[in-house]
Point group: C2
Chain length 159, copies 2
Amino acid sequence: MAKAHKTIQPPGLERALDRLEHLCRAHGQRLTRQRRAVLSSLLSAGRALSAYELLERLRPEDGKSTPASVYRSLDFLMTLGVVHRLESTRSFIACEHPEAPHWVQFLICRRCGQVVEAEDERIAAATERLGQRLGFALDQRVVELTGVCEGCRENAARH
Amino acid sequence: MAKAHKTIQPPGLERALDRLEHLCRAHGQRLTRQRRAVLSSLLSAGRALSAYELLERLRPEDGKSTPASVYRSLDFLMTLGVVHRLESTRSFIACEHPEAPHWVQFLICRRCGQVVEAEDERIAAATERLGQRLGFALDQRVVELTGVCEGCRENAARH
DNA sequence: GGGTATTTGATACAAAGTATCATTAAAGGG
DNA sequence: CCCTTTAATGATACTTTGTATCAAATACCC
Ligand SMILES: [Zn+2]
Ligand SMILES: [Zn+2]
Ligand SMILES: [Zn+2]
Ligand SMILES: [Zn+2]
């Protein structure tokens, strides 16, 4: 049975966009059409997209988006914590956690591209401790674990 | 007092190149002039370099290196585990640990660019456990912690 | 030293990201 | 609702990073 491609439906999307609006107000930032469109597009994709893939998906709606403006919107959404950047795949993904800025870990399947956003206490604590031990005042933690997910291993098993 | 720029001197460099030779033999791989030059250059730099910075440093010696060949050498050295790639800065650094392939964490100072390679048991265990819990068979772990190192914070403190 | 599979060089290109500045539009107050 | 202000976008051009292809060179083994 093929698992349906994960796509956030209108209800969840609405909620996320409302949350974006509140975050903007709270931070005294402007909520523009493009910022909404970028988040919306990432959510609808239901997976990580490169900036240029995202640009392609915006084109039909908003033919005049450019790389620079997409990157600006992404940067903005990242500072709000509603979008994350995956360094190891140079792509961007909508946050799965409704809370304020947080430190997360990503698990990435190299077969199907699935990305799981985790919030592991143990890892958070261990990285913090390492930073302290080595005298670093940390402000960014990239934890990206790549491998093969369960589903893909099962598929591979039966040839 | 200005701290001298960290640079690996001939003795350590020799040892690293010998190690590279042995690793190549052990893996039945060829040790070419360029591969030696790339590792040597990274070691001498004593910091992370982008592929193109590295290319510049190779030019004087070997005027006909190209981006493609540098990337190929870097890929090769990475599979041997003697060079690491920093995803969050798109750069490469010589391994500081003489052991075979290993899982490490990097601490990166966003001020001075210093990179410390750590091998923290707790983080290793915690990431492994997270992978298992979520059903991922991990084969790559990117842990890059960015912040400000102790030295840079002290410098900043006295304006 | 000669044979052979691997690696490199040369060339061209693709993908990812940024700088600059004139124009547009979001937000807030009247 | 309109006007003003300030921040964001559009347009353009460019930089940086990374890859594909195939002929020529070379490391390794004997
Ligand atoms: Zn998140
Ligand atoms: Zn998978
Ligand atoms: Zn290492
Ligand atoms: Zn520093």
